[in-house]
């Protein structure tokens, strides 16, 4: 009786293990690479635009279904290590593909506008519907040099204060001349 139970459990476990192995294979069947494009500025500054090209290749024998790839950016300045919200940096943050045939490759261009100065690492990650782990590219590092920009907090007091002072001085002059 005990042997029969073990036999049934084994028979049930084999497909599950096979499925898990298939899932692991699916994750490993993607090869993701990322590189900056040749026309990127050598020493980018705030406000400049960079672009990167990613290539996602299905290296397995089966199609990869429900492919999703996205761009991630992290700041790595000492004391300021943090993930960066790409909201202001790029309007092109992810791609989705229904299926990627065996041996096929999808190439994507990721434009980016440099908002803040600092040291950054960018990476593209890919997952599939069946995969149980993501496949990242290697990191691409870049440094954004600072640029002197208009500081809004300086503008507001002057833009509102100078006309106000002018109006006050005119009113005072008018009152003084009326008194005379």
């Amino acid at each position: 009786m005990q042997y029969r139970s073990m036999l049934i459990a084994t028979l049930l476990a084999v497909p599950l293990l096979a499925g898990a192995a298939r899932h692991t294979r699916a994750a490993a069947e993607l090869a993701v690479s990322l590189a900056p494009i040749a026309t990127n500025p050598a020493a980018p500054r705030m406000g400049d635009r960079l672009a990167f090209t990613s290539s996602i290749r299905n290296t397995g024998a089966a199609p990869v279904e429900g492919l999703i790839a996205w761009l991630s950016l992290v700041q790595v300045d000492p004391g300021h290590e943090q993930p960066v919200d790409l909201e202001d940096w790029s309007a092109h943050k992810a791609i989705a593909l229904a299926t990627l045939a065996p041996g096929a490759e999808v190439t994507t261009r990721w434009p980016m506008r440099l908002i803040q100065s600092g040291q950054y690492r960018v990476v593209v990650s890919a997952v599939s519907r069946a995969g149980d782990a993501l496949t990242p590219s290697r990191f691409v590092d870049f440094t954004v040099a600072p640029k002197p920009v208009v500081e809004s907090r300086r503008v507001l007091p002057v833009a509102l204060g100078v006309p106000a002072l002018l109006v006050v001085s005119l009113l005072l002059r008018r009152r003084r001349s009326a008194a005379i």
Partner: protein, 250 residues
Amino acid sequence: MSPALRIARKEAGELVLGLRGQLWLAVTTAVLSGFSLLLVGSQELSLLDNAQVVYDMAGLITALGALLAVIAGIDAIGGERERGSLLPLLLAPVPRGSILVGKLGGPVAAWAVMLALAAPYFWAIGSTGQNLTSGMAALLALGTPVVLGFGFLGVALGAWMQSGRAALSVALTGLVLSASPLLLGPSLRQSAIGRMFDAVNPFSAALNCFDAVIIDSQGAVSQASHAVVTMVWLAVTAWAAAAAMRRLSR
């Protein structure tokens, strides 16, 4: 006190301290404030280059100064004619040259006040960037002959043309044409016609100098050719105004 200085004081007082001058100063600060407020945005997203904004403001102030100068110049003669006070002025024992110099006192004073009013705006938008001081020096050095030249042009047109409105429309058309490089960037003026226009247009010379000094950090010595264009403009318009004043009879 010389007659020219006396007339200049009267003109400056009327233009800067009178109701007309007060309105003009209010308009000037409103324009500068409006321009500055357009630059206000999220601190993190503010990628506006200081130098570019200082350059834009220098051009804007030059245009405002030229506008005021040409209107004041036309009014100095055409306005006197329409108010019936030109004949007594011409009959006064004052040389025509002194009248001309004195009449420029208004635009000169107004230009000086405009530059003083613009200083805090320059500080607000440009003090964290590059070449603010040299940019303001360039505005003073090349903007002044451009503005005064338009003042002389206004005097000449006011003296030549019997109608103040006709003189004003001709002057404004010329000013808009001359100041068109404010709207057309350097890349749009690279045609043969554009380069020829730039070579003789005092406004282009001033803007190109601002560009070179403020944005490209070039030295003042390299701007001599631009300064020559503005000085030639000042000399030609002064000669035209003097000639028109000599022929002025009523």
